[in-house]
Amino acid sequence: MKELPLNGDVKGKRKKSVSSLAKTKKRSDYFWAYVMIAPTMLGLFIFYLWPILQTFYYSFTEWGAFGQHVWIGLENYKRMLTDANLFQSIKNTAIYIIFTVPIGIFLSILVAVLLNQKIKGKTVYRTLYFLPVITMPAAIAMVWRWLYNADYGLLNYLLSLFGIKGPHWVSDPKIALYSIIVVAIWSGVGYNMVIFLSGLQGIPRVYYEAAEIDGAGPFTVFFKITLPLLSPVIFFVTIMSLIGAFQVFDLIFMMIGKGSTALEHTQSIVYLFYQHAFVLNDKGYAAAIAVVLLIVILIITAIQMALQKKWVHYD
């Protein structure tokens, strides 16, 4: 009996001190969290947010030599409405997206599912598919440029063995964009494959066991179990590939020469931006292009976020 009040007393005291300790601890946790992310946040503000705001401002200016600029209001945006090159580049980018994103995702899922099976040497295959990801885009573009070379390239040489005269893969305006799309898909499959693989391995085995007991065939299993449970990963990959595809530049810059006749039919929005910003030194107009691109990407991502409720299953 004697012990109880003592016990209770101790308990009460401890409880009190614990709660106040928790409060200060919580506060100091927040505090330390902010301290820890401060360098990153500073970097983010200085190197991302500030330039974005500046770009927005510059889109209302016209540039002279060496950084001089004057305010011209909405002129740059008006000019965009009549710029045939801009519309062509939007069309090119759209074609690029329509082909690379769905085909890329389809192929990555296919490869991921195949490499998730028990097959011999699957680590070798995984490495092979991942190799393009760790290769520099410039190196990829140079090698493909050589493969695609109409007169001395390997591709047309192989075709010539069958008596086919291969086209000018990267110089023919009708084909060049599709040649680039092939390279883009090829170099992107590995990265998405790894993400899908981890997604596949996160699906609990019990579902498959249950399906097996119920006598479901492999296709039913894939469409009724694998695909729905993989949907959050598919959603993530779709958003990332779309944003990446909107910003395509390096492959086009490297594979299509400056004097190439295919340039108009391959240049993307970002390539046009580069052309105006750094070649023609028309940075105000370039900034306007960048702002429009940013808004388009924002809108499309927002639409995807809204649509995800319809098809993405989180467990």
Binding site: A38, N149, D151, H168, D172, K258, T261, V279, N281
Partner: protein
Amino acid sequence: MKKWLIMLVAIVLGLLGLAGCSSSDKSSGESKDGKVEITYGFWDKKQVPAINEIIKKFNEKYPNIKVKTEITPYGQYFQKLETAATGGALPDVLWMNGAHVQQYAEGKVIIPLNDLVKKDDYSLDNYPKSLVDLYTVNDQVYGIPKDYDTIGLWYNKKIFDDAGVAYPDESWDWNKLKEVAKKLTNKDKGIWGFASTLMNQEGYYNFIWQNGGEIVSADGKTAGFDKPETIEALKFDVSFIKEGLSPTQAQMTETAASELFSSGKIAMMFDGPWMVPEYKKNPDINVAVLPKGKQRAVSIHGLANVIAANTKHKDAAWKFVQFLGSKDAAEIFAKTGTVIPAYNGTQDAWLKSVPNMNLKVFIDSAEYSVPLPSVKATGEIWQYEVDVLKKAWSLEVSVEDAAKELNKMANDALAKN
């Protein structure tokens, strides 16, 4: 208390980290022992050995000035300079070309050298007057000429021998060029007689001037692409592609014409003396004077060394520029066969550097040479030339239409400035 201290340290460290990122600009430091470091910006990798030797010689005289080289390929050179100039981070001493000197001088990112020249009694008479004039903007000299180049007709002796045709000489004109190109073109062997490259200085400008056409009027106000003489010259150049005597534009963008030429796939092409280090590797290659049109003409252009306005070591930079413009430096350039030095009287050493090539044509033709257009909009016009003329070169549109479109764009660019 202690925590505040830790936080302070954390923030300071974070800021230091950031400052560390940004302080790596190109401003050259001065170390304790009075040594200064200046940077020298240029684009041609082929000249690195000669430049390194010059820096070595320079350091024998001025051991306290360290020179760091900064090479940027020509394709990105002026884009990078533009950005660097905006941020005040130009190399202390740099190469300038005639197309950009006006823009840079008027933008006040390079400094006039008149005072320095006067102070040190430096003579500008050692260089061809046309080159000094090229770098004079509003009566102020901005650059010390480094080298110059004209264009020659390079040819592959072996292809001529195999076809039993005499090598090009002074008697050649446009018709002869066409006639021989036809003879030398051999579809079975994959050999083209001539390469109509989409290049201005080493290509169509020469034809245009030989035909009495013009690029930009003498007063720098209007473009001359739609002049009948200009159009006729461009048509002649494109006719080689049309008649299958030259690789197509698509082929030349996939494999550079100079590469096709060095590997014996092209019999003749126009190119500059800067290709000597490359072409001398192939013993079959030699050079002749350009064939004449209505008149003799060839484009001339020369580079100059200029000093950036943002330099912290103006004196050291000026000393280096003087040395680069000296006879000693010119002789090193000449001896290594890299470029035709601008310093009068040193050209002979250049001729002797590769005795089996007829390099004299480059110096002789300077007599009737025409300088490249030097207006503020030159850089922009050159971009439009590529954008528009390539459609004529690929035979998508007629030369007339392309020339008219180009002329309009060029005139707009000229009016803007």
